[in-house]
């Protein structure tokens, strides 16, 4: 499944990286402690989090997650969005909780 299909199915907004929406996704990781996510998220994962500081761009980029999915209407600062665009990191956003997003993601990918 592509990020664009995920965004359409879960009604997600693009915060950054809309130009890279053809990227393939595989699996999902949920977590907010960045060092923890660093060692566990896998390449291609949809990473669901409520963290929105600049370090999420670094973690997404280093783990090669397909995209960052911000739950509960979390909005990152402008400098985070700029950095994400520079690093080709896709950030999506939703008003739903991480749990609701994960359940829906499971439904559409199983």
């Amino acid at each position: 499944m592509k990020v664009s299909e995920l965004a359409a199915a879960l009604d997600l907004k693009y915060v950054s990286g809309a130009q890279a929406q053809d990227r393939e996704i595989s699996g999902c990781y949920i977590g907010d402690l960045l060092s923890w996510v660093m060692g566990r998220a896998l390449g291609g994962n949809v990473w669901i989090t409520i963290m929105s500081n600049i370090n999420i761009v670094a973690v997404a980029s280093l783990t090669e997650a397909a995209c960052v999915l911000l739950a509960e209407n979390v909005v990152p600062d402008e400098n985070v969005i700029k950095k994400a665009e520079m690093q080709d990191v896709i950030i999506l956003s939703s008003g739903k909780t991480a749990y609701e997003l994960a359940v829906k993601l499971y439904d559409i990918t199983k």
């Binding site: 402690l33 960045l34 060092s35 660093m38 500081n53 600049i54 370090n55 670094a58």
Partner: protein, 182 residues
């Protein structure tokens, strides 16, 4: 919390409640030592030895309306999470000093946040207090002293909207000129 400045805001509110007339916020970004240090010192009423022992406990507070006042515990957690720690010294009648240390480049260290906004917020909350804000990075320093501004204003309240706006610009530019990017 998303940014360390929100913790600073919280701690400064403690100092205000402690009846301080001067509150100093001292930030040192020591990249060579990979250290970020935030010190907050006030001349408020201080804490008893007994209370000081329990202050890092998330279930301790001086507030009676709510059982859990978590300011110091949360700040400590933010530091410990990235290899740092929190020290607190206080003496009844002689104020309180809080020192919080962070590993500068730790991925779990939250960004500092916007200090100009933070200073405006604390000034609005309690404009009579003399806030001293010092920020050092790579040998450069920015210093803001609220009483200096008040003296220069000659009676115009520091918390009037135009002055606050000016103060915000003054701090933002001062930090930028010292090579401290927010």
């Amino acid at each position: 919390m998303k940014e360390l400045s929100l913790h600073i805001l919280d701690i400064v509110q403690n100092s205000v409640k402690a009846g301080a007339s001067e509150i100093e916020i001292d930030i040192n970004e020591d990249i060579l030592k990979n250290l970020l240090e935030i010190d907050i010192t006030d001349n408020g009423c201080g804490m008893s030895e007994e209370f000081l022992k329990t202050v890092k406990d998330p279930f301790s507070t001086t507030r009676t309306t709510r059982k859990v006042g978590m300011g110091i515990s949360l700040f400590e957690a933010a530091a410990v999470q990235c290899g740092g720690y929190l020290e607190i010294e206080s003496e009844q009648g002689n104020g309180t000093s809080l020192k919080v240390f962070f590993e500068y480049d730790n991925i779990d260290r939250a960004p500092l946040g916007n200090m100009a906004e933070t200073m405006i917020t604390v000034i609005m909350g309690a404009p009579d207090i003399n806030y001293v804000y010092k920020h050092r990075k790579a040998g450069k320093e920015f210093v803001f002293v609220a009483d200096d501004i008040k003296n220069a204003l000659g009676g115009v309240p520091i918390d009037s909207p135009e002055i606050l706006n000016w103060v915000k610009e003054y701090i933002s530019e001062g930090l930028e000129n010292a090579g401290i990017n927010m």
